[in-house]
């Protein structure tokens, strides 16, 4: 006996397969990771000596640009789940046409790129103003939070890019491939979720 059960099919009493549980557990740990940084943000802001913390985020940050970035990420979340839905449509119809999937997945990756490009412009603008992480704690937590988030965007894009390019498993184990897309989607939605909180906290308050 050596095949691992429930990698694709669901275990009857839990109703889940291994990967689904695994990714939710991992996301739980990510909630704690970003949560700790949010908790640090609060403590640093509450304890900041008077005059050292900007009254509004827009004193340093570009709100319109970040709003556009928010739109990018939300849209990429939709295209991601549409990519998975496209696969599930094919599964139900019993066909294996990957065109719709590829379009949606490519859009997801492209929007991710868009997000990173805008991020690049944001960061460059800061440095141009000689605003660095060391300048004050608002900028410090801004750079660490958005930087860590950005690393997660890059990681997610790497996985999505891999699933866009390497679709061999769709021929040999289509349900497992669809599950992989769903799992990658869960991570990608989480990245969007973090930004949904990051954006108002850093930029709008």
């Amino acid at each position: 006996m050596d095949a691992i059960p429930y990698t694709v099919e669901e275990r009857p009493d839990t109703g889940l397969n291994n990967v689904k549980i695994g990714i939710w557990l991992f996301l739980a740990s990510e909630v704690m990771l970003f949560g700790a940084l949010f908790a640090s943000y609060i403590l640093l802001r509450v304890g900041a000596p008077p005059g050292t913390w900007p009254v509004h985020g827009h004193e340093y940050l570009d709100v319109p640009l970040a709003t556009l970035n928010t739109a990018f990420l939300i849209t990429s979340s939709v295209t991601m789940v549409m990519a998975w839905a496209a696969l599930m449509r094919q599964r139900q119809a019993g066909t294996s046409d990957l065109r719709k999937y590829r379009i949606y997945m490519a859009l997801t990756v492209a929007l991710g790129f868009g997000f990173l490009i805008i991020k690049y412009f944001e960061y460059s603008a800061k440095f141009h103003h000689h605003w660095y992480p060391s300048t004050n704690n608002f900028l410090a937590i801004y750079f660490v939070l958005t930087g860590l988030h950005g690393l997660h965007v890059i990681g997610g894009m790497a996985v999505n890019g891999y699933l866009l390019v390497n679709t061999k498993m769709w021929k040999t184990a289509p349900q497992q491939f669809a599950n992989r897309v769903e799992t990658a989607g869960l991570f990608w939605h989480f990245v969007d979720l973090v930004w949904i909180f990051l954006f108002p906290i850093l930029y709008l308050l």
Binding site: M1, D2, A3, I4, P5, Y6, T7, R11, T14, L16, N17, N18, I21, G22, L25, F26, A28, S29, E30, M32, L33, F34, G35, A36, L37, A39, S40, L43, L44, G47, A48, P49, T52, W53, Y132, P133, S134, T135, N136, N137, A140, I141, F143, V144, L148
Partner: protein
Amino acid sequence: MAEHSHDAHGDHEHEHHHPKLGFWRKYVFSTDHKVIGIQYAVTGLLFLFFGFSLMMLMRWQLANPGQPLPLIGGLLGDSRMPGGVMLPEFYNQLGAMHGTIMVFLGVVPLAVGGFGNFSVPLQIGAPDMAFPRLNMASYHVYFWGGAIMLGSFFLPGGAAQSGWTSYAPLADIAPTGQTAWLIGMIFLITSSLLGSVNFITTIIQLRAKGLTFFKLPFFVWAQFVTAFLLLLAFPPLEAAGVMQLADRLLDTSFFMPEGLVVSGQVMDQYAGGGSPLLWQHLFWFLAHPEVYVLILPALGIVAEVIANNTRKPLWGYKALVYSVLGVGFLSFVVWAHHMFLTGMGTTINAFFQTTTMIISIPSVIILTALILSLWGASIRFNTPMLFALAFLPMFGIGGLTGLPLGLSAADIHLHDTYYVIGHFHYVVAPGTLFALFAGIYYWYPKATGRYLSERLGKLHFWPSLICMNLIFFPMFIQGMAGVSRRLFDGGETYAHGQDLLWVNDLIAYSAWGLALAQIPFVINFFMSIKRGAVAPANAWDATTLEWAAPSPAPHGNFLSPPVAYRGPYEYSVPGEERDFLPQFEPGGGPSDPGDEIDHGGAHAVPAE
């Protein structure tokens, strides 16, 4: 070593064509949980011995402050021990790295990575962990994290030297070794997180047929809760580590207060406005659950060994399970008892003191249940049982001495004294470490197909027990007299230390005794691979599922998927010929479907 992926002795029906694995795939990049478990265990043991030798250097210095260390003193170089005399900076490196290595590179990898990986899939009747490749990655990330930690000794300025607790602002401005510590910790935390995802998924999804949650061995429950602690408590420390790295590398001021002056120099590269206490909160948010990570697998091992060697079911199985769940939950809300003296107000102090007192209740329930399990037992005094029995009073002392520390009024007097060091070492050293030794002696036959020598085992056990107590008990005395911890000269220039300097000599000699006592163990460990008495599949006449697999267990573990017919501790069942009824054997006595009433002894409920 024992990390072979032996094919099952004889029967090859179940194995479909596996390509013959080369050396690297079989021993270094294996995805077999047993190989990975042994990798973790051996690496962990090596780190434990290394951390031990760091402590030997420290103990020598404390007993002979300012003296040149004979023989090897000159070998360590002028940056550490010029003329063989230990510099305070080096003493601090030894202290910080001893703690870090023992906790993060030694005990947890052995207890969780080693025993968890090896025994959990076997005890739940699974062919492997849920994510074998992730498992392999976890080990390698741990390995390289450890390598970074060790390598930090060779950086200019030496290794981390701000305590294993790395408090800001000292750690923010410490030499480069601290940066290596932070990077190493990020590796270790990553390894832990990946591992815990694996453990939780495996225990939930891969239990054999018939193995409901309340038929799980207590060891599996303990590892299950431990995995949740690692999963949810480590990320805040990872966040803090990133912030401390930013403070060190980018000159941010997350933990740097305004107007910091170091040795007369104003630290004006820092904007200030940060909070050193933020580091403490984030650190202890992990580090308190971490100490439960240190003890829970040990409690699990002791439970298994006691059940097996008393030939009766554990007392209070349900109480044990609910208590371990309670301990896990409560461990997240007690952390600031490490911070009673930081200027927190009486309200918040009272909150954490209360939760700390409450968490002692399930802990005591677990210990009591294990002790009560001995009542009326037919005890077999083999080596694993000796270690498990010794664990009970040792953990008892460790736990009891924690109570004054958890009461903030008493903690005012005891905080940062040797009393604290005595307390936590009792829990981890003659506590956890003894339980881990019990586990090694107990599961060695499953890994290798041979028993460890009983004679060498007893030669290992008795001196270890005596020396452990001689080393750590005097620390309570020193601490209550007011001797502070982390004094590099052992208290020589410290008023409170004067009457108790002789204790440092006693401890140093006892440490040598403890070192020598490990030699029989090391010899036994290697010698018994080839020369140990051959063990059958069920080496201890035990009841849990791992003993259904051959010894050593082959790739895939079981010749056919095991089924759990009854609870995990059906020993001395009335009406049965043998004094044990394994979980995996059909028929026989009670096969209690759904009967979760805990009768405390063997029950004779007829099958329905």
